[in-house]
Structures are given as structure tokens and as C-alpha cells.
Symmetry: C2
Subunit: 325 residues, 2 copies
């Protein structure tokens, strides 16, 4: 069976060229996929490989356009058409590195929610010391209720099993203390719900546990999740910049830097989120991946491969089963 | 005028030896201070320098004892006696690397709040790419109202001016988007209050702005602040560990590491929070510094010097003026 992936050619800072290159690389390495490239025909090249088809779209949604309005008015844009193709069964997944808010709104409208999931969440796979950790919600829901966080835990657990291949993944509730009874009302009530659930609940975790990989999944509301994610991105970037400055500071340091260069490059790649192919909108009735706006070809290729895994391993079907329990 | 600093000799993982060494170093470098060492006499050495006096205390509060109960029952412990000395005018500040919750509870009881401040906040000075940034609240208040965050902004601004010597420090409100109107109700209402205030309000900032130093002050509730702080500590620690692994991986890398060693050590020191001498409990009626539990002599020395600055530059008096505006 060929897996058909609808890819937004217009989304992201390096669209369409890097998006197309990513699609080409993915097709080369994955004989079982086909890419449907969504975009404005005038901005797409003619000489595409056979496994990349074009679906012509109208005017695209810009990276910084107000999301709700853009989705309402630009009905023939790549971001609006993508989820509809998935809904209609013409594609198996939608991938975009475009305007996050617009992709979310359009996926919600076009795909709808899975029954039993009140609010879809953004899940991001973070590289940590020892393994990938799934953090959710990373920004879709700034205000949450305990029942939402419980559903996020189930979504994250299913994702971790089906897409990352982790058996019986452990769930940590992000809090400001390890003991039960710590934190605000939201986490206290969520703690009770998670304890009563059939999920593999580890208990409360704290900020330092996110990057040390204490648990496979980190559950929190979308405000905290977004702040944590961006804080980590910011700090990692500052630290690599500082390291570069140290290396360039003296001739001796430069020599040291040259000797370490290839290993440091590998470390930077390993600690880069793009390695895990973007964020997933979990809880909508179809596979939807939102790449970083700065996605280049490798990030797009990785996103395509993660989408393929979600489909192959029946992620959506499994969530439907779990949500009905 | 000699500044008298009450120092908890019993608090922290390396107490009392590293605490005492920190006090000795501080006294050597600061002729204008005197240290009052609070601790159990049997655990303190006899041969202390003249500028370090001992105030005998009873049984100490452990690092992990439940705070409220410990403060109530161990009335002659160093943590309970310290703030009382400040209140009585026998000391100018209290410094402890002990049980954070107990120090907070004891400082609140012993010193009281400054009139006009509803809730004291924990302020931490973070090293960033270009300058120190003050983040508050870092954990004292998991649930906040907009008025609390406004007061935190004033406290942070006064601290930044008086203790860090920054003129007209800018204030960022930690949020999940830059535009006005983003986020939950708490930040939306706080945004309005800050805009109407006479403070130098920059606007909303996001996670990545914390470590890039977009503003001099980062304001948030104690839940977010605590998670952000611990996330940053955790990630920095993971990254330095990974760097060490890279350096030790091959012989060539090891040589590179040797060439870079002294510069990397300096970088690690610069990015270490201890450089700025612990966290401050702002809003109580007296200078109170809470060191990291892992504080060694340099962290203690730095904490003593920051306390001295707070006193010399009239931080408390300035807060009293601002709180009455």
C-alpha cells in the first residue's frame, strides 16, 4: 500500500525550495510513499519526480497572518486544502511548516476532533540526554481543565507507543515539587485523575526532569508547555553560540575547536528538535504535523517519515480505541 | 558603618564547612562586613576569625523537613532565629542555603511584609548571553492575581536598579506570544496593569527571550517561574555533560578538550547562577537571601556580597517608597 502524504509547499521560511528538496529526499529513501505537493503552480517547478504530484492551490496564507481570519477567507490555500484531502481519503496525512495557528484552525475545521477528545494538543518530541521525550500540550490550549490534561496523557502515551515505539511509556505531570499535593489546583486534581487511570503514571516531575528524560511523556497545560519549549530552544541556541565564541576567542581555542568540530556538529544535530520531525497536532481525526517555520529539507524529510510511521502503526485507530475506554 | 550579616551555618548540602569557608573569604575581601554565624555550637569550629561571631542555635531544620511544621516546632533553629535578628536590628540581612520553604516561612513570620506588597516573591538572577536578568516569581506563589504580578514587576525593577545597578530596567511579561491579547486571563489583565503603570514595561516576551536577555526583568507567576528556572538548570547541566562526553569520546577530541579546557571552565562559571549569589525573597521587610542547597564557598561568598549591596544601596527603603506610590 502506498502512503499518500499531503505536503504544504508554501509553508515555512524556506518554502517552496527546501520543502520540495525534503520531499524528494523522503521519496528517494521511502519507496512506499507518494507526496501530494500543495501550492501555487506559478511558484512550483515543472521537473518534479514521478512520485511527487502537484495539487494546485490559490493564494497562500502568510506566516504571520491572523490565523482564524486567514483560514476563513483563503479557502483555496494549501493550509485549508490539506486537511480536506485527508478527510476525503485522498491523502493519509497533512504536513505543513506554515503558520501554526492557521494549520491548527484548519485541521480542527477540516478533520474534526476524535470522539472523546475535548481539545487537541500540540505534542513535541524533545531530544534529551538519553531518549526522545514527548511534551504536550506545547501551546494549543493556554487554559486547561484536569480532564484535558488526562486526555493529553493518553494521547502522548499512544503516540509514544505507536510512533516512537516505546513500550509502556511513563507519564510525568509537570509541577513545582515532586510530592503529591504540590502545585496549583489544576495539577492537584490532574494528579488524582492520572492516579486513578490505567496509564503508566510516574507522578509529579519538575523542570529539570524534562531534559534529563525522567519520564517518556511530560504533561502540562499549553501555556507552561509553550514557555518550556521556547525556553529550551532559546537556552540551547545561546549555549551553542557561547561555545562558538569560546572556540573563536584565541588561536589555541580555534585549534581545539577544529579537533572537536565534527563531534560538536553531531551533538548539535542530536539535540535539535528537527531530528524528530516537527510537532504533531494530536486529537484531531487524522495525522497532522506542524513543522518549525525554520524547517529545511532534513526537517521536512523527518516530518514525512514520522507521518508515515503514524499511519503505518495505526496511531489514529489506537487513539479512537483508547478514547472510548 | 559595619554591615552585619546573619549567616545560617547549618543550611545546605555542604554545611557547615563550605558555609564557613565562604564567610571567611567574604570577610577577607570585604573589610566593611561582619558575619554572625548561626548554628549548633557542637558543629562549629573554635578557631574562627575575629570578624565572624557565633550565635548559638538549637536543633537545625533539615533540608527536606515539611517547612511550616519545622518553623513552628524548632523555634531556636538557625532558620527561625536569623530573621528575628534582622527584625531586632542586630543583623542587617539573613542568608541561608537551607530548606527554602522553611526560610520563606520564617522570613515571612519574622520580618513581615512591606506595606503595599501582598505577596513576597522569589527573585533569581539568571546569567544570560549579555547580562544578568532577574526572573520573579521563581516559586513562592503558584497562584497569582494580576495585582501580584504588578507588584513583582516593581520589586524586580527596584532590585535591578539598586542591587544590579541597571538604569531604568525593562520589564517583560512572560507569555506565549508577543502581541497584546495573547495568553490566559492572568497575563492579559497583567498586561493592562503594567501598561498603565509608571514602570518601564517592554511588553510580552516568550520563553526564548529569557536566556537571550531581551528584557532586564522577567515577570511571571510562581508556577511558571519555578518550572522555567528548573528547566534551564536541567538543560544547562545536560548540555555540559554531553559536551564532556563528546570531549572524552576519542583521543583527538580529548586533545581538543584540553586546549579548550580553561575557557570552557570560565564559560560554565559564567553561566552558573551561583555567580549572582542565590535567590532573594523580595517583599519581606528585610534583606533575605536563599542560596541553592548545593552552595559551596564561592556561592556563599557571592550571596554575602549581594546582601551587602542590597543594604548599602538602600533596597528595602526604596521598595517602601515605591510601594506607597
Amino acid at each position: 500500500m502506498t502512503i499518500k502524504l499531503a505536503l504544504d509547499a508554501m509553508g515555512g521560511d524556506y518554502a517552496p525550495s527546501e520543502i520540495i528538496e525534503g520531499a524528494k529526499e523522503a521519496c528517494k529513501e521511502n519507496p512506499d510513499i507518494e507526496v501530494i505537493l500543495l501550492g501555487e503552480p506559478s511558484r512550483l517547478p515543472d521537473n518534479l519526480p514521478k512520485k511527487i504530484k502537484v495539487k494546485a492551490c490559490g493564494q497562500s496564507i502568510g506566516m504571520h497572518e491572523p490565523a482564524a481570519k486567514a483560514v476563513k477567507t483563503k479557502k483555496d490555500s494549501s493550509i485549508v486544502i490539506g486537511p480536506k484531502l485527508v478527510k476525503a481519503g485522498e491523502a493519509d496525512a497533512f504536513i505543513s511548516a506554515g503558520n501554526t495557528g492557521a494549520v491548527m484552525a484548519s485541521a480542527l475545521l477540516g478533520l474534526g476532533r476524535i470522539k472523546g477528545i475535548d481539545r487537541p494538543a500540540i505534542a513535541v518530541t524533545l531530544p534529551t540526554a538519553s531518549k526522545p521525550v514527548v511534551l504536550l500540550d506545547a501551546g494549543a490550549n493556554p487554559d486547561c481543565k484536569p480532564a484535558n490534561l488526562l486526555q493529553f496523557a493518553m494521547l502522548g502515551s499512544t503516540f509514544s507507543q505507536k510512533v516512537l515505539g516505546i513500550k509502556n511509556p511513563s507519564i510525568g505531570l509537570l509541577n513545582i515539587g515532586q510530592e503529591k499535593g504540590k502545585g496549583d489546583d489544576l495539577v492537584k486534581l490532574t494528579h488524582d485523575l492520572l492516579e486513578q487511570s490505567s496509564l503508566n503514571f510516574y507522578g509529579n516531575i519538575e523542570g529539570q526532569d524534562v531534559s534529563s528524560g525522567t519520564t517518556d511523556i511530560v504533561v502540562c497545560d499549553g501555556f507552561i508547555g509553550n514557555v518550556v519549549l521556547k525556553t529550551m530552544e532559546g537556552l540551547a541556541s545561546v549555549m551553542f553560540k557561547e561555545l562558538k565564541n569560546v572556540i573563536n576567542a584565541t588561536t589555541v581555542n580555534k585549534v581545539g575547536g577544529i579537533l572537536l568540530a565534527s563531534s560538536l556538529k553531531k551533538l548539535q544535530t542530536r539535540l535539535n528538535q528537527d531530528t524528530y520531525g516537527g510537532t504533531h497536532l494530536l486529537g484531531v481525526n487524522g495525522v497532522c504535523i506542524i513543522g518549525h517555520g525554520s524547517s529545511k529539507r532534513t526537517a521536512i524529510k523527518n516530518a514525512i517519515e514520522v507521518a508515515k510511521k503514524s499511519i503505518k502503526h495505526g496511531f489514529i485507530e489506537k487513539v479512537k480505541l483508547e478514547a472510548h475506554k
